[in-house]
């Protein structure tokens, strides 16, 4: 048994595997299949100030080795999260990352402020959502906007603040450096890549929202590249995700520089994926005689 524990911004994880925001709800549905305390942590569904109904269906499309989603941040609002979902999750022995979002920096800060008096372990600020004030361009696509929203949230919370970056940018390292400078304690990446599919028989986009976020194994090489670049550009920890579907993938992304790993679309293919990945990581480490998973973080030797 290798030591799988990791520490990210002072928070201890019993293992590095965290279901990604949006794929795992608030955990209840998967608890039918396995005890949640097997997980290192859980990133909860992106939560906004008020209830959001999300986009019209279809919201899901398949792609080669991946998928698109256009859920559109459907969620019951932060008060419901704090009253109903969080207390339940806090009884489980795992790290809770509250994924939050908003259409203005104000909204993001207000959501974070509400979490300040709770026992949630970390805040994961999703800056990929469109900023209504700035004409819909996502916060995460400009250094200024990314820094601005990070600063506003930083000002209202003492909890470890993880900023979740969008891959749909020319330079993810610039964005990462901006949010680091603005006070982020860690970054997580990658969110989904913007994609589209068309039903050629109807001539209509498959998603009612026309476009959606691509994730799954297809995006894994992009995640590895971005995690590697960002880990080399900032001095704060990186939580890696994007297409991880096996223990080997998780090891690869940690070698690229991730201190912990989130698992998204792979859970749809195999609902036990997070648990299986933990086991596969352990087996691989044991087979190599590596005592602790911490020993592999960022160890890739570039040519």
């Amino acid at each position: 048994m290798a030591d799988l524990s990791v520490k990210v911004c002072g928070t201890d994880f019993k293992n590095p595997i965290i279901p990604a925001s949006g794929v795992f709800g608030y955990g209840r549905e998967y608890e039918e299949l396995f005890p949640l305390d097997k997980l290192g942590g859980i990133a909860t569904k992106g939560t906004t100030l008020h209830l959001r109904t999300g986009n019209l269906a279809p919201r899901i499309a398949e792609t080669p080795s991946g998928m698109l989603n256009s859920v559109g941040l459907q969620n019951p609002g932060i008060d419901h999260f704090i009253d109903t979902e969080l207390p339940y999750l806090l009884t489980k022995n795992l790290v809770v990352l509250a994924n939050i979002a908003g259409s203005t920096p104000d909204e993001c800060a207000e959501v974070a402020a509400k979490l300040e008096d709770t026992d949630v372990h970390m805040i994961e600020l999703n800056i990929s959502c469109p900023n209504v004030k700035q004409g819909g361009a996502a916060f995460g696509t400009s250094c200024e906007m990314a820094a601005e929203v990070t600063k506003r949230v930083r000002a209202v919370t003492k909890k470890p603040l993880v900023v979740k970056l969008s891959p749909n940018v020319t330079s993810i390292t610039d964005i990462a450096k901006s949010v680091e400078a603005a006070g982020a304690d860690a970054v997580s990446l990658i969110n989904t890549l913007l994609g589209m599919r068309i039903d050629i028989n109807t001539g209509r986009p498959i998603l009612r929202n026309n476009v959606g976020g691509m994730s799954g194994p297809a995006v894994f090489p992009i995640a590895v590249r971005m995690v590697w670049q960002v880990a080399n550009a900032v001095n704060i920890p990186v939580i890696g995700m994007g297409g991880v579907s096996s223990g080997r993938d998780a090891i690869e992304l940690m070698m690229a520089g991730a201190s912990a790993i989130q698992v998204g679309a792979a859970i749809f293919t195999d609902p036990y994926a997070p648990v299986r990945i933990i086991e596969e990581m352990n087996d691989w480490l044991d087979s190599k005689g590596i005592a602790s998973v911490k020993n592999i973080i960022g160890t890739v030797k570039p040519w």
């Binding site: 949006g22 794929v23 039918e32 998928m67 859920v71 459907q74 679309a265 293919t269 036990y272």
Partner: protein, 256 residues
């Protein structure tokens, strides 16, 4: 157990029409938990998303489920390659099924095309109290009629082109039945226009109606919010999820 994921042995495979297959699967704990209207979420090798398929038969004694599905694209084509003796990977049983009531005296089951399979477990439950109306494109697409007859249900067959049974849509015989009265409940699954038509007739005639909807799914268990469906609950608009709140909904809840 609510639902579980596992690999189960296919104990029987039959091609029952052009590109339509029937699988019998040995999965005792799933069969024990399953009820009519629920579905199974099947992994297709090489594909990220599972495919939702309705349960077409539940044999709790033998511990088997039956599914009937059509090849519609790459994933169902891959699943159709599985043979008797192979393992099938299912997350099941999922969703909220039909409301069954043994005090009902007369129910109508309406299936359109590949929407017919989920009607069969209802016929098995209601037997002679059921009238099963099935509609298909043409004679070569007709499935399951003998299975319906074996349950004791009265069967009415329609085809769009008249090549078998009544020439026309299922709504025609149903409208007549509805006029005759005495129907306690209608259950339906099939293409949207058909469901809409049936719901309208039921509303007009004050008949309780449940329909099974389709939507593109990822998780299949209510976690990803992928399979949204606009409904009304307590007079408020509510984004329900086909995989968890459905696939069966009361027709009056649905915002078409």
């Amino acid at each position: 157990m609510k639902y579980t994921q596992g690999q189960y042995i296919i104990t029987d495979k039959k091609a029952i029409a052009c590109e339509i297959y029937s699988f019998t699967i040995a999965c005792p704990e799933v069969a024990a938990a399953a009820s009519p209207g629920q579905f199974v979420h099947i992994r297709a090798k090489g594909y990220t998303l599972r495919r939702p398929i309705s349960i077409c038969g539940i044999d709790k004694d033998k511990g088997t489920l039956r599914i009937v599905f059509e090849i519609r694209g790459e994933g169902t084509a891959e699943i159709a390659k599985l043979n008797k003796g192979d393992l099938i990977d299912m997350l099941a049983p999922l969703g909220h099924g039909f409301t069954l009531n043994d005090t009902y005296n007369k129910v109508v089951l309406i299936g359109g095309g590949i929407g017919t399979p989920p009607m069969l477990p209802l016929a098995a439950f209601y037997g002679k109290k059921a009238v099963a109306i099935s509609g298909f494109r043409n004679a070569s697409a007709v499935i399951l009629q003998n299975d319906f007859i074996r349950t004791g249900a009265e069967t009415i067959l329609c085809t769009d082109d008249g090549s078998a049974g009544i020439h026309g849509f299922v709504t025609q015989p149903f409208t007549e039945l509805a006029k005759q009265g005495g129907i306690d409940a209608v259950y339906a699954c099939g293409p949207m226009p058909m469901l809409k038509g049936i719901a309208a007739i039921c509303k007009e005639n004050g008949i309780f109606c449940q329909i099974s909807l389709e939507e593109r799914m990822a998780c299949g268990i209510g976690a990803c919010l992928g399979c949204a469906c606009r409904t009304v609950r307590n007079d408020e608009e509510y984004f329900a999820h086909v995989c968890k709140d459905g696939p069966v909904f009361n027709a009056e809840e649905v915002l078409w």
